[in-house]
């Protein structure tokens, strides 16, 4: 039991590292926290790509390289669910891991669009650079459902924990389910170039993204404590199996 928990702590660290890289390289260096409002003239986007090309190249290259960490973090959560909560049915942990893995796809692919714009911006029209920027944002926002699958599967799995003190508290399980469902507001995003539902709007950017960021932080905190508890449970089970009484019991059981 202890052996299969071996690498989980390393995988758990991938979550906070991803978050820092995502905020710094994708968000701040890539001018995505906050993004350009969709109704700004194409020239503003074009000038940005030309003046900050190297910053965008660095930001997006790093974001692309490190985005896979989100999958590794999701794998750690999936394994905690599988070893600690599920018994004969691993559907929820599988959905959680796939959701985390698939979340990587829209992030990575959208980074390519920003990189394509920054690759030779001097040779491209403003409208083409605007198209690349828009495409990247449409992809990253409208791919929300894969993350919703991850969050809802994790939430339902955490709620199934029958321990007196569950590995992850109920409020966090429900928080994840709620945030996952609240992402549905992104369906309004393609219709608006300003206002709360636009890609830079109060709801579809500030609220949704930061609810997700906080969720990553909260889950990571309980992920570390869950791993510690599972290790203690595994040690307890091993010690119990090696006590003389348990040994005799086993021997009697075997001989019977």
């Amino acid at each position: 039991m202890l052996e299969r928990l071996k690498y989980l702590r390393v995988l758990a660290w991938c979550g906070p590292v991803f978050l820092v890289v995502f905020i710094v390289f994708w968000g701040l260096m890539g001018h995505n926290i906050p993004p350009f409002q969709p109704d700004v003239p194409a020239k503003v986007i074009g000038d940005y790509f030309r003046s900050d090309a190297n910053l965008i190249r660095l930001g997006m290259s790093m974001a692309m390289s490190f985005t896979v960490l989100y999958f590794l973090w999701g794998l750690a959560i999936g394994k905690v669910i599988e070893y600690g909560i599920e018994k004969d049915n691993n559907i929820l942990s599988t959905c959680a891991v796939w959701g985390a893995g698939l979340t990587v796809v829209p992030i990575m692919v959208s980074c390519v669009f920003w990189l394509a714009g920054a690759y030779r911006p001097e040779a491209l029209d403003d409208s083409i650079l605007q198209l690349l920027y828009d495409t990247a944002w449409l992809l990253i926002d409208m791919g929300y459902m894969v993350t919703t699958v991850q969050m809802v599967a994790m939430g339902v799995a955490f709620l199934k924990d029958r321990r007196a003190v569950p590995l992850v508290p109920k409020w966090l399980a429900w928080y994840g389910i709620w945030v996952g469902f609240s992402f549905v507001a992104e369906v309004f995003m393609p219709f608006f170039k300003s206002g709360i539902f636009a890609r830079s709007g109060t709801l579809n950017f500030w609220v949704e993204f930061f609810l997700w960021f906080f969720w990553i932080v909260f889950v990571t905190t309980y992920l570390f404590s869950s791993i510690k508890r599972l290790e203690a449970e595994a040690r307890g089970a091993t010690e119990h199996a090696h006590t003389p009484a348990a040994g005799v019991g086993k021997a009697v059981g075997a001989s019977a």
């Binding site: 109920k170 709620w178 507001a185 219709f191 206002g195 109060t202 609220v207």
Partner: protein, 202 residues
């Protein structure tokens, strides 16, 4: 009024120490959801303050009679679901099933009314892109409608469980949690209706 523990099949949990109806985690979900809607209501009021004439003119295109109808539908449905919860605490399986079925049938009227209302608006050329008022109208009522659909599915699960499961503590917590969610759908509408249909600029 019956006391739940008067009945031989009354759920033991109802006689216990629980102070909050339903599951405490569901209350977290409900609180978070209400907070998000409160933020949306606040943003609506901010935008309304910037263009009061436009919001007033647009508001007049809505039919408050449909709003009243929807309010009555949701309140009646909520009442029926509350009766189902009471019956579940008493262990009365047939009554639980009956009240839940009625609650869902009445609730379905909300969907019909909303679809008719959307249809009329779209036929009149009014969409969520018409102006800021209708952006909020379609988005807020749309998000609320989504909550309504989830609520109907949750009630359907309660109904199915009432026929297959024991009406024990677990079931009572299930149906109480579902009813709390259903009341939240109601509560949100009770804010949406006056805010969108009735609030006028003098």
């Amino acid at each position: 009024m019956h006391r739940p523990d008067d009945h031989p099949h009354a759920s033991a949990s109802f006689t216990g120490q629980r102070k909050l109806a339903g599951d405490e985690g569901v209350w977290f979900f409900i609180s978070a959801d209400i907070t998000l809607f409160a933020l949306l209501f606040l943003l609506f009021m901010v935008e309304r303050g910037k263009a009061p004439a436009l919001f007033e003119q647009s508001r007049q295109a809505l039919d408050p009679r449909l709003g009243v109808l929807n309010t009555l539908i949701l309140l009646t449905s909520s009442w029926l679901v509350a009766l189902a919860v009471h019956s579940a605490r008493l262990g009365q399986r047939a009554a639980v099933s009956r009240y839940l079925t009625l609650g869902m049938l009445v609730g379905a009227g909300f969907a019909v009314s909303k679809i008719v209302e959307y249809w009329h608006k779209i036929a009149a050329g009014i969409t969520l892109l018409s102006n800021d008022f209708f952006m909020f109208y379609f988005a807020l009522t749309g998000l609320h409608f989504l909550h309504f659909v989830v609520g109907m599915m949750v009630l359907a699960v309660c109904l199915a469980k009432s026929r297959s499961d024991d009406l024990d503590d677990r079931y009572v917590i299930w149906i109480e949690s579902s009813a709390c969610y259903w009341h939240m759908v109601d509560l949100l509408w009770l804010v949406l209706f006056p805010m969108l249909y009735l609030l006028h600029t003098p």
